[in-house]
């Protein structure tokens, strides 16, 4: 029985803090009560219907139908050459001016340049240690066998033989398939980007925890950073930080920090208040309290955060190559453009292996326990360190006698790329997709897209804001309305609708395929584990690789882009379904068993309804993934926001790129806001929190 003002208590009741829920807004946060929602939805649909029907009769004034916007071209039918080439509010120009003002007049560049120079020096040093060269300390590259024994020993010392073999195997993979120098470069980036992201994330997370005002102002920025397409801020990074290795690292950090902040904050907020009190009663100073009580107690969340950082950094390996990050990603891009798909797959698996090893090592390290009582002699206490030193020394000595242990010759020419190439060619020839494409494009996709484009923008705004009103009250309605209004005023409405249509359809396919797949996987424990493993793998596999085979199968059109998006965005739909089902309390299962349910009844009456909120969060993630992949899918050839973003990138149009990025981000945040709100309420109603 603590007073209602007890801050930690409040935190435990709302673990998933959202963008900015200050007290005042809380009053606006209640949507229609569930029992009235059906009625509300009907009214809403009626209004939207009237708005749509009014259009053919010319009852909708132009300014409610379509605001002035930038031109676009269709790739399915013939080009639509619009004369309206402008936007209502010059948001892009304003942003551009602001950025250059910041850089040139306020001299923000002095700070950013300093940061980027320091980073460059850091990357150079780490890179030098890993793979030699003239930069950094000018050291010689260590023999590859030394890295092999380090990976083996580290894996064994932290966890056991399996991790040891995984680590060693990965090192061998790099060496055998001729990826050594690239992998070392990537490793050097990670060695800099991961710790910096973790430190920044921890710092911001702690700061948010201590100061509500910081939390309120930082979390929305993080949401945008997380949903903004990478390509949209690459230009900004180049403008402020220059180009070179360090720029890739910076872009990676921007992308990897937000989940770390969120999870740190979540971890700190969900610590039981008693633990903090116990720490205070133990006489902790506030520093001791933070480092010895609060952070360690939040370590589950923090470990998930670190894990996320590693995964995000690896996801950025390829994307950062666009602004000059060297390494595996750069190599992959190079091979992709030369259409050497087999080699791309080879490099892709190298990235996945690296992710698995780093993930495994970081988790194992965090779980390591110390034995206080053990009063061991020196050589036993430090047995692994000693073993490591001895083995590395042996590696160095052997390497000086046997050059093969020092440097793997590049012309080993071992590769399995050819079999992949053969497989892909075989698939292209044997899977005839012509009729399928015809049906999809002519009868489904094009009408869907045209319908969205036909709708007056006011109808869509009313629809979205109305849903917001139903689910989350005025706050949600105003927030989503603001997001959409930005897109309309910035002059990108039609392109945004095309992006939206691809995302919606991709999500639909992911749901139709992914959720049943998840249900099937979750039926057996072993199957579920296999499914989760493949989810991890697919998530780290560079998404670019999907695109080219998709084009070869389906040729250049929207459907191909959608297929590439589906391949990438399916993962969370499956993963969350599996997790949602696994997390159903066993006593509920026992209860329905005793009620005499058969399998179908169990699924429909118990599993689906109870797991639904979690599955919906998965669907939400799928939408987020789809938004990020649909931009990358502009490589196929689409006419959505993605295409404009690449155009902005090639024009170094800073303001335009950021504006387009914000458009994508705001659409994603609209969906995110509504789904999360609904799922949280459901969970509360079901008593699952």
């Amino acid at each position: 029985m603590r007073g209602p003002g007890h801050p930690a208590l409040e935190a435990t009741t709302t673990p998933f803090k959202e963008i900015s829920l200050s007290r005042m807004k809380d009053l606006l946060l209640k949507g229609l009560p569930p029992e009235q929602r059906a009625k509300g939805a009907l009214v809403l649909l009626a209004i939207v219907g009237v708005l749509i029907l009014a259009k053919p009769f010319n009852l909708i004034p132009d300014f409610l139908d379509e605001l002035p916007q930038h031109t676009y071209q269709s790739s399915i039918n013939k080009e639509i050459q619009e004369i309206k080439r402008t936007e209502l509010v010059p948001i892009g120009a304003a942003l551009e001016w602001t950025f250059y003002y910041l850089r040139d007049d306020l001299h923000v560049s002095v700070v950013t340049r300093f940061f980027s120079t320091s980073l460059k020096a850091l990357v150079d040093v780490v890179h030098n240690i890993l793979s030699g060269g003239r930069k950094g300390f000018g050291l010689d590259a260590p023999p590859w066998s030394a890295l092999l024994v380090i990976a083996l020993t580290l894996g064994y010392a932290l966890k056991g033989w399996r991790l040891s073999l995984l680590g060693g195997g990965t090192v061998c993979y790099f060496a055998i398939f001729g990826l050594w120098t690239y992998a070392m470069t990537t490793l050097a980036y990670l060695a800099v980007a991961v710790p910096i992201s973790i430190i920044i994330g921890l710092f911001l997370g702690i700061w948010c925890y201590k100061k509500k005002s910081v939390e309120v102002s930082i979390l929305p920025i993080l949401s945008v950073a997380q949903t903004m397409p990478h390509f949209a801020y690459l230009i900004a990074v180049v403008v402020f930080f220059g180009i070179g290795h360090q720029t890739g690292v910076i872009a990676t950090i921007i992308f990897a920090v937000p989940p770390m902040v969120r999870l740190t904050l979540l971890g700190l907020q969900t610590i039981s208040p008693e633990i903090v009190e116990a720490g205070k009663m133990a006489g902790c100073t506030s520093r001791q309290l933070l480092f010895r009580v609060q952070l360690p107690s939040a370590r589950n969340e923090i470990m998930i955060g670190i894990n996320q950082v590693i995964m995000q950094c690896l996801a950025m390996v390829v994307i950062a190559a666009f602004i000059g990050a060297d390494g595996l990603g750069f190599r992959l891009l190079h091979k992709l453009i030369a259409l050497k798909l087999g080699e791309c797959v080879e490099i892709g698996f190298a990235i996945v292996l690296l992710a698995l090893v780093l993930d495994g090592l970081s988790k194992a390290w965090a779980e390591k326990k110390r034995d206080y009582r053990a009063n061991l002699p020196f050589y036993r206490r430090y047995k692994y360190s000693i073993l490591l030193v001895v083995l590395v020394a042996i590696a160095y000595i052997l390497a000086s006698y046997f050059p093969i242990l020092n440097k793997i010759p590049r012309d080993l020419d071992i590769t399995y790329a050819k079999s992949w190439d053969g497989f892909i060619d075989w698939t292209v020839v044997n899977w005839q997709t012509r009729d399928f494409r015809y049906i999809m494009l002519v009868h489904i996709l094009t009408p869907l897209r045209d319908a969205l484009l036909f709708m007056p923008f006011i109808a869509i705004m009313v629809l979205v804001a109305g849903v917001g009103l139903l689910l989350g009250g005025y706050y949600s309605a105003l927030l989503t309305l603001g997001f959409l209004l930005f897109i309309a005023l910035a002059g990108w409405w039609d392109r945004a609708m095309i992006t939206l249509y691809m995302v919606l359809f991709s999500t639909f396919i992911c749901i139709v395929v992914g959720i049943p797949l998840g249900l099937w996987s979750a039926m057996r424990e072993k199957r579920a584990r296999t499914a989760l493993f493949w989810c991890d793998t697919f998530q780290t596999f560079p998404s670019f690789i999907y695109i080219i085979p998709a084009i070869m199968l389906f040729r250049v059109n929207d459907f191909t882009a959608i297929m590439a998006v589906v391949a990438y965005a399916m993962v969370p739909a499956v993963r969350y379904t599996v997790e949602g089902l696994k997390n159903i309390p066993p006593e509920l299962h026992e209860a329905v068993t005793m009620a005499g349910c058969n399998k179908r009844q169990r699924l429909l009456q118990l599993q689906l309804p109870v797991a639904l909120p979690h599955i919906m969060l998965g669907v939400n993630q799928t939408v987020m993934f789809a938004f990020s992949m649909v931009i990358i899918a502009a490589f196929v050839g689409t006419i959505d926001l993605g295409q404009s973003i690449f155009k902005a990138l090639s024009e170094t149009a800073l303001g335009k790129g950021v504006t387009l990025g914000l458009c994508v981000s705001f659409m994603a945040l609209t969906v995110d806001h509504l789904v999360v709100r609904w799922a949280r309420e459901r969970r509360r109603l079901l008593g699952l929190d």
Binding site: G3, E274, E277, A278, M281, G283, R373
Partner: protein
Amino acid sequence: MNTTSLQPVIRCQTLYKIFGITSDQLQKDSQGLIDPSYRDRQGVVTAVDNVSLDVSDGELLVVMGLSGSGKSTLVRCLSRLIEPTSGSIEIEGNDLLAMSEKELIELRRNKMGMVFQNFALLPHKTVLENIAFPLQMRGMKRAEFVERAMKMIALVGLDEKENSFPRELSGGQQQRVGIARSLAVEPDIWFLDEPFSALDPLIRKEMQDEFLRLQSMLKKTIVFITHDFDEALKLADRIAIMYHGNIEQIGRPEDIVLNPATEYVAKFTSDVPREKVLTAGSVMDERKEQEALASKSVRIDDLVETIAEYVLGQSIPVPVVDAQDQIVGVLHQARMLEILFHERAGPSGS
């Protein structure tokens, strides 16, 4: 109220904790009393409402109340985990509320220990590390804190468990760790916040006995929070009953049972099996001259429960003797019947 002549270890006066309002928004009179009108304000919750109490050296004060009564807030004010809104707290004569952060840390490192309802063990530390934690905070040397912590482990009977993690222990074992941790710094003042509420009944009884055993050895000054009246009766030297942030009554267990001060207190006492609370001394009558007495006497601190059968079997009064074997009163068969069967419904007039 039962005060000793010695200076109390804990003295708190006109203590308030009001959530949703700051102290300078309040009107106080010369006695430090706050105008009750603040209660009507929206968003204001009064958790501790004008509480004054003393705890003397070696005394075990149990604060009893249902959830929402303000008892946990009170104990957190006494340890200054929560900043009181108004009032004063003195620890061994020193003003707790005037202490700087540094002094407060020193006080907690040396004088106070606290046990929590849900154990509040650090999940990433082993049993030994948890217990040694306050010692480490003091900057104690490794060898020293390991030794001290091992002693504590033995004290609470957790030998061989020192390298286990809290998640590997049962609830009762976890709370033993919590107790050992709170005692590791050898505090003079011991706060226990519903330490046994999260345990199942058998373990709870075992832990209560264990607690009494420890207290008989250690003689700490204790503030013990519980919502369980039986537990309060079993452990307390004195009981404070809280309701809506107020202390409704404070006194020895038998005083409260025999003389509930308010309706609210009476509700609790009505169901109490008095034979388990009342002692011979609290129910005896004065000895009349030349009265014939039973041959066997009972002691003044014997519980009614243990002597009832004997007294009821005697047709003449049974003598009650004190520690020096002096007869200080007598127990009649009729009085015993009255206590056991007639007086349960209401406050007694004795």
